[in-house]
Each structure stands twice: as C-alpha cells, then as structure tokens.
C-alpha cells in the first residue's frame, strides 16, 4: 500500500540499489512500506492503520499499516528489537499489562477497532489464540491445561470438555502421545510436547486468529520440525500470524511475509517473492543474512 512506486523486477542484483531505505529509517524520516500488489486481492481479517506504540518515552512501532489476509499464514521477520513481538502483542492487547504503554492509530479485527474503550478486552483475547516463545503450560494436568480457556468461560459439562480436549490435541498432533495420561501433570512433558500442548490450548476455543510468538525458538530441531508441520496443518482452519527469527521457517510455513526494521514495516508480500525477488535491497540482504 502507500504510494511507493513498485518497479518491475529485473532479477536480483541486476539493479542493486544502495541501502537507502535503512538510512532513511535510521535518520527517523517518514517512509512508506513496500507492499506487494498480490496482497490487494486478499480478503482481510485484521488490519493495522498507522499504528504506533510507545513504551514510556521510547517509541517501539512507527505508523504500521498492514492487513492480515484471512485464512493464511503470515510471518513477521526482522532483526531483534524491530518490534515484531510488540506488534503481535498489540493485537491481543497483552501490552496493556505493561505500565506506561501508549498507542496511536488503530488495529481492527473484522473492522472493529480493538483499542476502543467499549471493547471488552477479555472477550477480545478469547477471539485470539496466542502461543509464546517459551512453552508455558500451567501447573495442572494435561487435560486441564487444554480445556483452560473453556473452563474460564464457565463450561462445566464433562462431555463437552473431553470432546474439545481431544479435538484440540488431535489438531495439535499431540493426542496419540498423551491420550493415556491426560490426568498427569503437564510439566512432565518434553519441551516440544509442551509447546504443542500450548498450541492445543490456544486453538481449543476456536480463535479467529492464532498469534505465534517465536514458537520454536526454545526447541530442538526435531521438535521445531514437528511444530512447523503442525502450523502448516492448522493453517487450513485458522488465520496465523507468526513471529520468527528463522528465515527458512518463515519461507517454509508462511504464505505472506512482512519484514520489519527498527519499528517500521519495510516490505510486505508473498513469501516466495520476499525470499526470492524482494523489491528492496534491505530485504534481500536481510533474508540472505547479510544485514540486520
């Protein structure tokens, strides 16, 4: 979006520009993200309009404007501290828990602003599942962990809970491993299993959007692979927004990729375009590991 002129691509490196955008950003000047034309056709579920965020005096996000395509996996990439996680946590208002946070602009879920005072933040969070960087199972049984979002909603019927638990665990590809020990503590699971448990917990209440905050960064390669497979599977049912440091992962699991730098959205487009023929040289250098 924006009025940046999108020039037809002529192949990587054929017309290499200098890292002009990075300089503009470092200088703090205003800048419009390069958004690929393919995104214009996608139906949106969530969009940010010139969304900015401050932690006290320091600004973490600068006028982010982007839309999240419905039913697709979108990856947020960028160097550490570029505001990927902040953006993700702004979507379900987890930043409310931090003192001194100020926002400007809007984020809209299905067209409704989520920062409107009329919005019940608890209801909002129920529409958005979230998985964190470190697996954070609760100190209770596997079963109780999975059905936690239903329990706090007041669901008490055993049959409903058991059904939901099985469905979520199957979707999270964990059912076969834990079906015989649902009553045991979740803390006895391995790291990868715990993370899949957290995914099951995040999807048990059928959220509209699934927010994944570097879900594999604390896991070993095998567990990472399983989670990636899982994300591809559940992407059929949910809209997924995933923050990752791992380029290969972003390329493998996502349909769209947004590259962020120093709190700004830099380039946003279909993943294969971002990873094979990005518009901006900064993006190209970042995804090939030469920048950032």
């Amino acid at each position: 979006m924006g009025d940046a002129v999108i020039e037809p691509k002529k192949g990587l490196g054929s017309e290499r520009r200098g890292l002009r955008v990075a300089e503009v950003i470092r200088a703090g000047e205003s800048f419009d993200a390069e958004v690929h034309a393919e995104l214009a056709d996608e139906p949106e579920i969530l969009r940010a309009d010139t969304f900015s965020l401050w932690y006290g005096e320091s600004r973490a996000l600068y006028d982010i404007s982007m839309k999240l395509p419905r039913g697709k996996v979108t990856a947020l990439i960028g160097p550490s501290g570029c505001g990927k996680s902040t953006l993700l946590r702004s979507v379900n208002r987890m930043n409310d828990l931090v003192d001194g946070v100020r926002v400007d602009g809007e984020i809209r879920l299905e067209g409704e602003s989520i920062y409107d005072p009329r919005v019940d933040v608890i209801e909002l969070r129920k529409r958005l599942g979230m998985v964190f960087q470190k697996p954070n199972p609760f100190p209770m049984s596997i079963f109780e962990n999975v059905v936690y979002p239903l329990r706090i909603d007041g669901e008490r019927r055993k049959g409903v809970l058991a059904q939901a638990c099985e469905r979520a665990l199957r979707q999270a590809a964990l059912w076969d491993e834990v079906k015989d020990r649902l009553k045991q503590s979740a803390l006895g699971l391995s790291g990868g299993q715990q993370q899949r448990l957290c995914i099951a917990r995040a999807i048990v209440a059928d959220p509209e959007v699934l927010l994944l905050d570097e879900p594999c960064s604390a896991l070993d390669p095998v567990a990472t692979m399983r989670i990636e497979e899982l994300i591809s599977e559940i992407a059929e049912r949910y809209t997924v927004l995933i923050v990752t440091h791992n380029m290969q992962q972003a390329a493998r699991v996502s349909n769209f990729t947004a590259f962020m730098y120093l709190g700004r959205l830099v380039e946003y487009g279909p993943s294969e375009a971002i990873f094979s023929r990005p518009i901006l040289p900064e993006t190209e250098q970042y995804v090939t590991g030469r920048f950032g």
């Binding site: 958005l128 954070n136 100190p139 917990r201 209440a205």
Partner: protein, 748 residues
C-alpha cells in the same frame, strides 16, 4: 618468559594469603557444626529429661549410720563440693504430708546399708504427691446399729464383703438412746504386708471403677444442671428488662409499607438499569444512576430491617409474669434435681471413703493419712492412683507402668495444680488455639498478599507497606497481648456483650448512613474517571480520580466501622449476664487466637508474597492471553502454583503461634479451668471460654508451683510434649505440602 608475557609484572605477583588453602571453608563449616550441635543438644536434653520422668526407679530402703531408715528412689549422685572422694545422692522420698521435702540429699558416708525390699512400694496419690512405704492392712469401716438381742458382729468373726472375706475387728461399742447397740467395726480384708499387697490390687481396681462412675456424674451431670440453671436466670433477667416499657415504636403500616415498596422499586430499577449498561460501556450516566439506585435500595433495606416498625420488642406485664412463673417452676425443678444428684454423689463418695489402706513408713510406724487435718486416720483406697512395687517388677512390668503413666499424662486432667495427673485439657487448649489462629490468619494474610503482589501498582507505597509489615514481625509479643486485651477483649468483646458503649443518636446515625451512601457513590464515579483509555497512559484526571477513589473508599470504610460500633439498634447479645459474668467481654480463646493471628500475620504475608512472586510470569501471561481475567488467573493458576509456598507460611505461623506464651497470659490462658473450649454441648466450640496452654502450663509448673522440686520432671515432660505437638503440626503441614506439590507438578 617474561619477555613474551603481555604483563611483565605477572610472575612477580604473590598469591595472597587468603587464597592459600581454604581457611574460610573450615570457619564456615565449624560455625555450621556448632549450630547443629546446639540444636541437637536441645533435642537430646529435652527428649532425655522429658522421657525419663515416668521411668520406674527402684525403691531403696536406706539405713543411715544414725539408725534411721527411709524408703526412696535414687536419682543422680554427685561429688560433694569441697570434699574429695565424697559423693552424695539425691533420693526422692515423697511423704510430703508427713512433713518431708520431696527430695533429700544423702552423703555416701552417712549410709550404713541399702536394701531393695520387694514389698517396698511407691504409691501415687491424688493429693500430696507420692508416698513411699509398705502396704500393711486393707479394711472397711462399718458403723451400724443393732437392736438388743439381734446379735451383730463379734471380734474375730469372718464375714463376706463386696471385696471378699474379712475378719471383724470391733473398734468401739456404745449404746444409743433407745437401747440399740451401735458398733464401729473394721472389716479387715488383709492384715500383713505380703498378703495385703495382693488383696489391695483387687480392691483398688473395684474402688477405681466406682470412683470413675461417681466422677463422671460429678463432671458431666452437675455442670450441665448448673449451666441450665444460670441460663434460666439470664432468660428471666432478659424478660424483666423487656417487660412493660418499649424501646421501639410501632409505626402505622402505610409509613413503613411505603418505604418498603419504594425500596423494592429502587432495587428493581437498579437491576433494570444495570442490565442496560453492557460491559465496557461508556454510558457513565446510566451506570451512576443504577449504582445510586442500588445504594438507595440497600439503605432502604437497612432501615426497614433495623427499625422493624411493625412490632415492638416489649413484653406485656401479664405475659411476662406467666413466662417468669414458668421459668421459676423450671428452676425449682432443676434445683431439686441438682440437690438430689449432689446428695447421691456425696453418699456414694462417703461409702467409698470407708475403704481404707494403711501404708506405713519403715520407721516410726507413721502411715499415709486420710488428710493432713486427720493424720490419725489411714488414707482412703480411692485416693490411691497407682501402686508401683518397683523392686518386684520385671522389665515388662516396668515398661507397662511407664506406658501407663504416659497414658495418664496424655489422657487425664491435671490434679494438684498440675503437679499430678495429666495434661489432656491443656493439649486440647493448645491445639484448638493453634487451629483457630491458623483459620484466622491464613485467609487474611493470603488475601492481603494477593492484593499487594498481584493488583497493587508496585511503587513507593507498596514498598512502605512491605517495610511496615516486616517491622510488625519484630514487635515484642507482649505488645500484641496488650493490644488484644484492650481491643479484642474489652473493645470488641464488650461490644458483642452489651452493644456500643456510646450509641449515636438515631437522627445523627441515619445522617451518617446517608453520608456513607453518598461517599460510596462518589467512589464509584471516581473509579469511572480513574479508568484510563486503552492504550493510553494515565492522564492527570485519571490519577486524580484514582487518588480520590482511594480517599472515598477509605473514608466509607471508616464510616462503616464507626456506624457499626455506635449503632443505636444493638444492645448486645449477652446483656443479661452482665455485669458479673461477661461472655465475650473478657479473656477467652477466640480473642487469644485472634491476637496470635495478628502476631503471625506478617509471617503469612511475607511467605505468600514470596510464593506468589515465584510463580513465573509466563504462566500469568498464558492465562491472560487465554482470555482469563486477573482474578481467574490468580484463582486458577497463581494460587495453585503458590500453594506449597503458602503452606510453608501457614506452617511457620502455626509453629510461632503454638509456642507463644506471653500474650496469652493477658488474653485468655489460665492456670486451671474446669471447662474446655471444645465440648459436646452446643455450640461445641466455645470462643468465650478461657483455656489452658502448654507453654503457660510449663511456666506455671516451673515457677508458680508450691513444690517446684517435685514438678521439675513434669516441666521437662510438658516441654517435650509441646515440642512434639509443634513438630507434629509441622510434619502434617509438610506432608500436605508435599502432596500438593505432587499434584501440581514440581516446577514451583
């Protein structure tokens, strides 16, 4: 070498002395060992001395060089200070009612010979401690009148008694006014030492059974009747107070009926209005209105209920005299029954007291007397608790006596100011107190800590509060005792007994109720303005409204306390018993446990705070992100995770509370009381009663007993018991904690 080194000075440096070897390790380890030795020493001393009190010691018959002979049990011996090679030994000699000390020191050069006679016994008595001697004779006293010519007992005749065959020995014979023969005779069951001991055992068993049934009558039936009688008396006083003059006015139906209708209408309106305001709505006007209606409705309910203008509480004079006549009839009946019971108890006691035993000392022929005032009469068998023929017992027998004494100690009530008998009611008092204090302190402390750690914004105020709480833990406990006496016993207790001392005038009181309602509404409005817009930092208005809300809530709470404490509509639940018998307006176990709860509050708060902050934040975030509210997160995730730590706090509080003595002396512990804080009569737990406490009992035995020498072993045993109870409480809590940990996983 040094030419290649980047730092040429490097090899000239000296290793400092502190880096040689590890002297610090030895010092620290030594300190630890010293600590362990002290703790272990404490445990060993208490267990050894406390456990040896009930050991069965042999009975020595010591003949001194000057020819006197005494019986006694040997205790420790030691070198006589200042004399080489000379030792002395401490003997327990008892027989205090014959003018002896409980213990005497005997120098080894005074002793001519020591024997261990098999018939030498130590007799534990109900009064005056133990008696060393030999059982000489067991007999019954019988005094009867016979008509002339009807015969009657003759000297040397064999007769049968309840206890077996006996030989008649006529002591005194006289003639009554109407010519009958009155004979005072002893029916001698046994008359020489070896046989007497066997027969005594049999007689003693029977007598103890009978005595137990008399005592149970005396201990249960009599207090019950007395309690009923005094209840009738209080009921009567209550009726007299309410006779004739009314303190309330009966209002016409339409006045209070209209008020009630208006109250119901505002209540319905409040409910309707609040339904019109969805969550998170900004329809502040409606919210304020619904809140105002709710407050108005609450005030209406308060007014209608407190005034209850549809009736007055006076009793018409005729009705009162009827009631009082009923009560008087009941009282007469009960008094008669009480008199009959007491008479029966006396008669049965007298009969039992006629069974006598002669236990003599080895020299002088002195025997254990019935009482100090009747030194010429041998003692009653019923006053013997136990006869220990230590020299005649094998190991199994000694063990049996040892265990029997422990059982008596644990299950019986104290006699002779605690110097004899058991400590069962003392244990009951201690355990009840500890449980009550735990029940009071844990919820309060946990809830406070939750606010402090989970809800409150961490800043200078919370830091100040934390410092204050930590300092509270260091306040001397007697200060809490004084506070408890002043606030709980006299203040709160007095209010419960007789209502507010200075009740506010009604108009003024209702004015204050209205003011409180307005302030609450102001608080509600302030809270609305204190909420910041999502994604925006707090504005000046938000902050001001937040501060204002605090002020309003605090003043509303203060006003509420004042309103309750000065209400003109309450004049006590126990006014009838005043002034001679305050119920809650004095010392009692409820106030004692609340005082201790206050004392242990800092322990619980600090432990809970630590446990809560040990719950990882990622778990909280996971719960919030799942759509849980703050409270749901606390309730379902934080509290279960922090439970083991909270239990630790509760354990520490219990241990601290159970061992505390000083404040209890002020707020409820007593030397001795017949009544127990828990009983089978409603309401089962009697918060108004005084109680006995092991710690205070130790103090009493050690310092308040007339014969502290004799009670010293019991002091040790009671100490051992107190330590054991505290350890048992701790162990139970540790086990519960371990179980909880197992249930919720080992992460926290």
């Amino acid at each position: 070498m040094s030419t290649t080194s980047p730092n040429p000075d490097r090899h000239q440096r000296r290793t400092p002395i502190s880096a040689h070897g590890e002297p610090a390790m030895w010092v620290t380890a030594g300190a630890l060992i010293l600590c362990l030795a002290l703790i272990l020493g404490l445990a060993i001393v208490i267990v050894w001395r406390g456990g040896s009190t009930f050991l069965v010691r042999p009975v020595h018959e010591v003949t001194l060089a000057d020819g006197t002979v005494f019986l006694g049990s040997p205790f420790e011996s030691e070198a006589v200070p200042g004399e080489d090679g000379q030792t002395r030994r401490r003997y327990r000699v008892g027989n205090r009612d014959l003018g002896q000390d409980s213990y005497r020191w005997v120098r080894s050069d005074e002793i001519a010979s020591i024997a261990t006679p098999s018939d030498g016994v130590m007799v534990e008595r109900r009064e005056w401690g133990v008696f060393f001697g030999r059982i000489q004779r067991v007999y019954l006293i019988r005094e009867q009148e016979y008509e002339p010519g009807a015969g009657g007992p003759a000297d040397g005749e064999r007769v049968n008694t309840d206890f077996g065959p006996a030989t008649v020995r006529v002591i005194q014979e006289s003639e009554t006014e109407d010519g009958d023969r009155r004979v005072l005779a002893h029916l001698v069951l046994a008359d020489d030492a070896p046989e007497a001991r066997g027969i005594f055992g049999h007689v003693h068993d029977t007598v103890l059974d009978r005595r137990a049934s008399i005592e149970s009558l005396n201990r249960h039936r009599v207090p019950l009747l007395q309690e009923r009688l005094s209840r009738l008396e209080w009921k009567r006083r209550g009726i007299e107070r309410r006779t004739g003059a009314s303190r309330r006015e009966v209002m016409p139906v339409w006045t209070w009926g209209l008020t009630a209708l208006a109250t119901i209408a505002t209540g319905l309106g409040a409910a309707r209005l609040s339904r019109m305001v969805p969550r998170g709505s900004r329809k502040y006007g409606l919210r304020v209105l619904s809140m105002a209606a709710a407050i108005l409705c609450a005030m209406g309910v308060l007014g209608v209920v407190t005034e209850h203008p549809w009736s007055d509480d006076s009793i018409p004079v005729e009705r009162a005299s009827e009631l009082i006549a009923d009560i008087d009839a009941d009282r007469a009946r009960l008094s008669e029954e009480l008199g009959r019971v007491l008479e029966e108890i006396n008669a049965r006691r007298e009969r039992l007291d006629r069974v006598r035993v002669v236990i003599v000392e080895p020299t002088g022929g002195r025997f254990s007397p019935l009482s100090v005032s009747e030194p010429g009469e041998p003692m009653a068998v019923a006053d013997v608790v136990r006869v220990v023929a230590a020299n005649d017992l094998g190991l199994a027998g000694k063990l049996r006596v040892y265990l029997a004494r422990w059982w008596e100690f644990l299950s019986d009530r104290p006699r002779a100011n605690g110097a004899e008998g058991g400590v069962f009611p003392v244990i009951v008092g201690t355990v009840t107190l500890t449980l009550l204090l735990t029940v009071a302190v844990v919820p309060l402390g946990v809830i406070s800590a939750l606010y402090l750690r989970e809800y409150a914004r961490q800043g200078i105020v919370t830091s100040l509060i934390r410092i204050a709480i930590n300092n509270l833990a260091g306040v001397p406990s007697i200060v809490y005792g004084m506070f408890g006496l002043g606030f709980f016993c006299y203040g709160l207790g007095g209010w419960v007994d007789s209502g507010p001392a200075n009740a506010a005038p009604r108009g003024f009181w209702w004015g204050l109720v209205g003011l409180t309602g307005v302030i609450v509404l102001g608080g509600v409005i302030s809270v609305m303005f204190a909420a910041r817009r999502p994604g925006r930092p707090a504005t000046a208005v938000n902050r001001f409204a937040g501060a204002l809300a605090w002020v309003m809530w605090l003043s509303a709470a203060g006003l509420a306390v004042y309103l309750v404490s000065s209400t003109p509509y309450f004049d006590g639940w126990f006014t009838e018993k005043l002034p001679e018998r305050p119920t809650f307006g004095g010392r009692g176990i409820l106030w004692a446990s609340l005082t201790l709860a206050l004392l242990t509050l800092p322990v619980v708060i600090v432990a809970t705070e630590e446990a809560i902050s040990a719950v990882p934040n990622s778990i909280r975030e996971g719960s919030i992100a799942s759509g849980a509210s703050r409270w749901q997160t606390i309730r379902r995730v934080v509290l279960p995770g922090a439970l083991p730590g909270i239990m630790t706090g509760a354990i520490l509080a219990m241990a601290r509370g159970a061992g505390e003595v000083a404040p209890l002396m002020l707020v409820g512990a007593v030397n001795f009381t017949q009544s127990s804080p828990v009983s089978a009569e409603a309401p089962f737990l009697h918060g108004d009663r005084t109680f006995m406490h092991l710690g205070f009992h130790i103090y009493n035995l050690g310092f308040q007993s007339p014969d502290s020498q004799a009670t010293e072993p019991l002091v040790w045993t009671t100490t051992l018991l107190l330590v054991a109870i505290v350890v048992a409480l701790n162990l139970a809590a540790v086990m519960i904690r371990a179980k909880l940990r197992g249930k919720h996983g080992a992460a926290i």
